[in-house]
Every structure is written in C-alpha cells, then in structure tokens.
Symmetry: C2
Subunit: 454 residues, 2 copies
Amino acid sequence: MAKTKLTAISGFPEFLPPEQILFAKVLDIIREGYELYGFSPIETPAVERKEVLTSKGGNEKEIYALSRLAAGEGENPNTELALHFDLTVPLARYVAMHKNKLTFPFRRYQIQKVWRGERSQAGRSREFYQCDIDVIGRGSLSLLTDAEIPSIIYQIFRRMKIGPFVIRINNRKILQGYFQSLGIQADQIDGITRIIDKLEKMGTEKVVSELTNKTALEKATAQQMIDFLGNELKTDDMLTQLNSMSQINEQFSQGVKELASVVEGIRNFRVPEASFKIDLSVARGLDYYTGTVYETVLVEHPGIGSICSGGRYDDLASFFTNEKLPGVGLSIGVTRLVSQLIEDGLLKKGAATVAQVLVASMDENRTSDYLRMGTELRNAGIPTEVYLEKARIGNQLKYADKKGFKIAIIAGENEFSENTVQIKDLITGEPIVCPLTDMVQQVKKSLSAQESKL
Amino acid sequence: MAKTKLTAISGFPEFLPPEQILFAKVLDIIREGYELYGFSPIETPAVERKEVLTSKGGNEKEIYALSRLAAGEGENPNTELALHFDLTVPLARYVAMHKNKLTFPFRRYQIQKVWRGERSQAGRSREFYQCDIDVIGRGSLSLLTDAEIPSIIYQIFRRMKIGPFVIRINNRKILQGYFQSLGIQADQIDGITRIIDKLEKMGTEKVVSELTNKTALEKATAQQMIDFLGNELKTDDMLTQLNSMSQINEQFSQGVKELASVVEGIRNFRVPEASFKIDLSVARGLDYYTGTVYETVLVEHPGIGSICSGGRYDDLASFFTNEKLPGVGLSIGVTRLVSQLIEDGLLKKGAATVAQVLVASMDENRTSDYLRMGTELRNAGIPTEVYLEKARIGNQLKYADKKGFKIAIIAGENEFSENTVQIKDLITGEPIVCPLTDMVQQVKKSLSAQESKL
C-alpha cells in the first residue's frame, strides 16, 4: 500500500517530548501566577460565528473558516463557523453573552491556541498558544487594576528565571494629546502610532523617514516627536517632565495623571524600580487600547522583542452590547516565547520523560515485586515507570539514560535474597544498596540531593 | 450601531467559571495520574493534512476542513488542512514522522480538543476534550502493558471520588475465534462486533433481532452467542470456562491465553478484584483493536455508559510507515464525562473564583497596606485577590460571597491603630482578630479548619 507522505506543516509547530515537557512547565508557571492573583480560568470554543470574528473588520484574510470535508447530498459544506484568531474577541462575546451570570469585576485567564491564516514567515506561527488575563468592570474599573498587571508580570517572569526584564509602561492618552498638539489629525493618529511602535525594531532614522513619507509630517516635527518619545529619563524625572508639560491639552494632562497614579500603584504592589520604567515610545499597534499600555523586554536579550504586552481599553464589547465594559489585560504569546528562550539558551530542555524513577526488570519471575515497587513509589507521589519489556539490564539503563530518568531501581537475585534494593543515581552513577523497606525514603533522599546540586 | 447577535453554538460547549474550575481540576487529576506512571505530554497541531486524516477512509463527513475566510485575489481559499477528529491518527503520524528521535517503548499522553462535524444531537458535542494515553513499541510490546492500563484507570478514577466503578476487560481474539467457530465469515465479524457492542444499551432481545435481520445468523445461533457473551461469571470461573473451550480454534485459544496473562498482571498491579471483571460482550466498535479491549462503567450510574475505553492494536501507523508499531491505549472523553458527572450530582460545582482570600478595601488611604497584605499572602502561596474598586464593605462581602471566597481580610481604622487584622471565615461567618504579623499563619489555620470540615 502506498504510504501517506509525512512532512511538517509550516507554521504549525510541534515539539518533541523534551521541549513539550519544558513548554508544559512554562504554562504551569503562568497558570499558577494568574491563579495566585485570583484570576479564574475560562475556555471558549476554538470557533466562533464568522460574524462575531469579523465584527471589527479588517482581518478576514487571517481567519480560517470551517467547512465539512465531504458534505452529504443536498447539504451545504460551508458552516457559519471560523477559528478564533485571538482570545479578546471571544472574551468580549463571552462577557456580553453571560454578563448576568458573571460577577464584576470579572477576572479571568484563558490559555488556549489561536489560529492565523497568514502566509507563513520565519518565526510566524499560524497556530500558537496565547495566555491572556483580563479584568472587566461593569460601568467602571479602578486604575489600581492597571497597576496590578505589572505586578503579575513581575511575579511570573521572576519565577521563570530567564534573567532581568523591564516592564515598559505608557499611556495612549499622552501620545494622543501630544500628537494633537503637533496639529496631527485624529484619523492619522492610529497610523502614526503604528509607525512609532516600530521604533525599537527599526531605529530612529527609519522611523523618521517612514513618518515623513507615509504621513503629512515634516521632518523636523517627526524628529522632534521621536526625541520626545525616545527620551530615557528615570521614572520620577519623567513624571516631573510630563507634569511640566501638562498645559499641552486636556487629553495629555489626563494621560499624565493616570500614568502617575499607575506608577504609584505599581510601587505599592512592591514591583522593584529596576523592573519597570516609563517608555513613551510604547504605543501598541492595536487600536483598541485607550489608556495604559505595557510591553516587557528581556534586558540581556532585546532581540526577542516584547515577551508580553497589553493595556487598558474603554469598552470591551461595544459590538455585542450597549453596556459599558471597561477592561485591562495582558497577553503572553507563549509558543513563540518558549521557542525563542530555548533557542537563546535561556530555558534548558531537559528529560524526555516526566518520570523520575525507572524500576528495572532483572528477573521475569519477580515481575510482581517490580510492579509492587512501582506502586509504592507512585503512592508516595513519585512519578515512576516500571520497565515492562524483556531486555538486558544494560539496555534498560541505556533506555533510562536516553529518556533522562534520575534514578534506577535495580533488584536481582542477590538483592531479593537479602531483602535489599539497589538505588542507582543516574546522574552521578553512584549505587546505594539499602533495605527494601527503606526504598521510598532513600529515593526521596537521592532525588533531593540531585536537586540541591542544580 | 447594530449589535452582533449572540447565541450559543450547538455542540460547542462553554462553561461558566464554577464549572470551568471543576473541569480544570478533573483535567489535573487525569494529568497527574498519567504522569505518575511516567507518561509524558505531547501535543500535535489541531490540524493535519487532509490526506493524513482520511488515510483510513470512512469519516470524511465528520471532518472540518479549513479555508481562508477571504483569500486575496488569485489566491485559492482552500487549504490542504483539516481539524483532527481524534488523537490517534495524529499520534500515528507523529510517531511515524519522529520515530528516530523517540525512545521506545514510547509512552505519551495527549490532552487536547478534537472536532467532529456531526449534526448536533443531544449529548453529542462537535468540540470536546480527549485525554489519551498510549504506549507504542517498536516491533513488539509486552502484554504487561495491557495490564498496566487498568491500574492507571483505577488510580485516576479512585482519586476523582465518583463512586465505585468496574473496568470491563475482554480480548477481541476470543470474540473473533468464537465467531469463526460459528461459521461466521471474516468480513461479517466487524459488523457483528458493532452490534454486540450495543448489548448493554439495547438489551438482549433487540440485539438478537438486529443480528438476525442484519446478518445471515439464525435466531438460535444469535441467542446462543448472546448467552455466551452475556454470561456473568467471576473472573477465575470465567477463565476456567474459557480454558475448557480452548479447543475451539487457535485464535480463541490465543485470546484466552492473553486474557489470562493480562488478568494476572492486573492483580500484580494491585487493582482490587471489585474494580475489574472479564466481560465478553465488550467489543469496542472501532476495528483497529486486535487484542485486549477495555471499557469502564460507574456501578451506581450505568446510564452514563463507558467513562473511558481503549485497547491493544497490532500496528499503530501502517498507513504511514512499514515499520511495525504495536500499541495499547486508553481514551477519556472528559468533556462529556464532566458534564454528566455534574448533571448526576457526582461532581459538585464550587466557587466562581480560584482565589481563597479577598482582602477588603476599607479606607482609600490604606491602599498600600491592603496591597502589601495581598502580596504577603501570595508569597505564602495563597491565591488572593485585593478588592481594588471603591465600594462599601457590605457590597465587598456580597462580592466575596457570590464568587465563593473562603476568607475575607478586613482592616479599618480600629485594626490599624491596634496593629491587628480581622480574618473573617466566610463559611462560618466567624471573625477572628489577630495581630497583623500573624495574618498569614491565621489564614492558613482557618483554611485548613474549613477543609477538615468538608
């Protein structure tokens, strides 16, 4: 029979076990971090109605629609459904639809795959995980919530141990007020903001030239704008300068007030000064942010770009309900993040198994004993595999080594006759012989000795 | 602006937070159970190439294909991709594709959504989670692996605390040998097996009548078959009877030997006698099982049907590789399971928040103190929300009650002036006033007191 051809599908990443185990650990850290702050999980279907996904317009090309592969006679193969491209539109639909069953402020996290039908490019996935949190108020939402988000980021990325990072904070009202003061029309602001957002990637010169080419800005104004947005003052000096400019207009002054209040909150949340800063060039391309915006970068690995981003929006669900639902949220694009952290050596791939102990099988007549040892270790909460095939002990140890087990339990005729067991540390290679009754304790001791050496 | 209409999409279930939190807990129990036995996670993309999904044929109607919602000019909106309808075909593709980078026996679990484009019926989802484990050998795989699966089932469902259950075990070789002995042609066996599989749902009479109508079987033979398959002997008596029939043919005798060996293994894995039994009527509709098959039912809730099922197959990936890859696996259809367990009152929905403690905000000037309390509790690993809005304490306690917090921390002028804090048990309603420095300890004490009362 002809075999079906197997090749990777570009843009749809798939990990081998060592990467997958690491990826699962990162997801656990994020999930625990979100839950520690009282964000509760929700999950929405992978699909929404097409009209829900397109209610904002502009991204139809990215969206994958579903059709029945082989519809029956007289059936329409097309469905009304399409895969979600982010978790914000589904959240808006969820909150609008269930709002009378939810308690506000509604605090949820959502860790799910999203799909984007882009042509695949290097580093661009068409399927990836997003880890989002959002707090949604009914009518209003305290600015303290904007300050809470950086403390969640801080806590999560500290626990990931990927080196120093800085959460860059800005407020879109400051940008918009400033732009207005330069005589820029309201309908140009979004376009300019999107260009500004590339400042770090493209550098000042290119951004100035793109600004003068693509907008009506003169070069001097563009340069002045970049000088203002790119300035690198310390937090309090920045706030002093912004305050001194408050007369620019109402919008600007409101943004400065909000930013100052968010900074005060961040300090109250005990985020260290070194982990956050005001950066006026952070604009976020997405036009639904209306106030605070965030981006986070790794200090020693700026090339990775922003590892998470988010912000405040006036109204989550205006396409679905007349009720005002302001919110603030954050998204971690974790598939790309983990791939890059592995590539840059910031996260180390480990074992190909989640089990720590392999019970080797030396003697077929002792199967019952080996299985009992496995059960005892599992009952003590230690992930354990019993080797169930027939193989020489050398091959079993090779298997243990390839998969990355930490300890092997070995018992043959000698051990059984003396009621002992050999506990082999697979990292140091050292064997310890102990009474069978001490097996679980000794395994725990050896595992924690290994951990303390890491 | 006209609002987009919002209604649920039939067949795509979506939980509110209390159900979602419960669902996540069940997934955690399953995941931990799999990992305890050394099964490691893998994840495959939600999509595969159409030709991979259809390589076995027969289920095209169920498959959702992807197309670009709005392809550019000259672009073909159709893609080569479709959503997976189970996790076995993706596993087969994964193992065949990566086999030289995997270590065998390959033990993986996979917890992912699958999609089936069926017309929606009551209780039938078009999107749901499957939790699968499989062990894949290269060339061969020990029968002990077949015995390990029931011990995993036993351990997981015991921890779920959903009442007594029985793992029903059979071997398809016994069925096939027996059918052959009745003169049933090989090409009829799958059809008959599928009818037999309905025995429990439809009862003897209907199955006999379906067998005589849809196959060439005479009524007497059909009745004799059902009597044999439906007999309710104890495990050892069943094995004795099956052994005494071993002369039937080679196929039958081979099946009996395997079954006896699997039963011995299950006992060695310490699965209690009450939790498993031989049931000759378990056939599993799917034609890829070739040996051991399993189904599990809740003793006191037979209406729920099988809560997990699986079996042994000779060759996982014959469509993709010439290499022989025998395996044994198990699948839990957890979306339907959890919905039914909630409906039948076997799992109780709990709080709408994962946080245990709510720090109330009594005095705006003390925000910094409230936030510090939250940080202290989180640093001790206690999921905590600080109430960030302005609201009267009564409304804050209503919020705590609605969401299901367990403890509220209350501190106003009195408490601050005395360096104390009020810890209110939201289940008993009892307040405890303690020194601020003892807050974390007292919260832990109150939480564990609550737990011990459950």
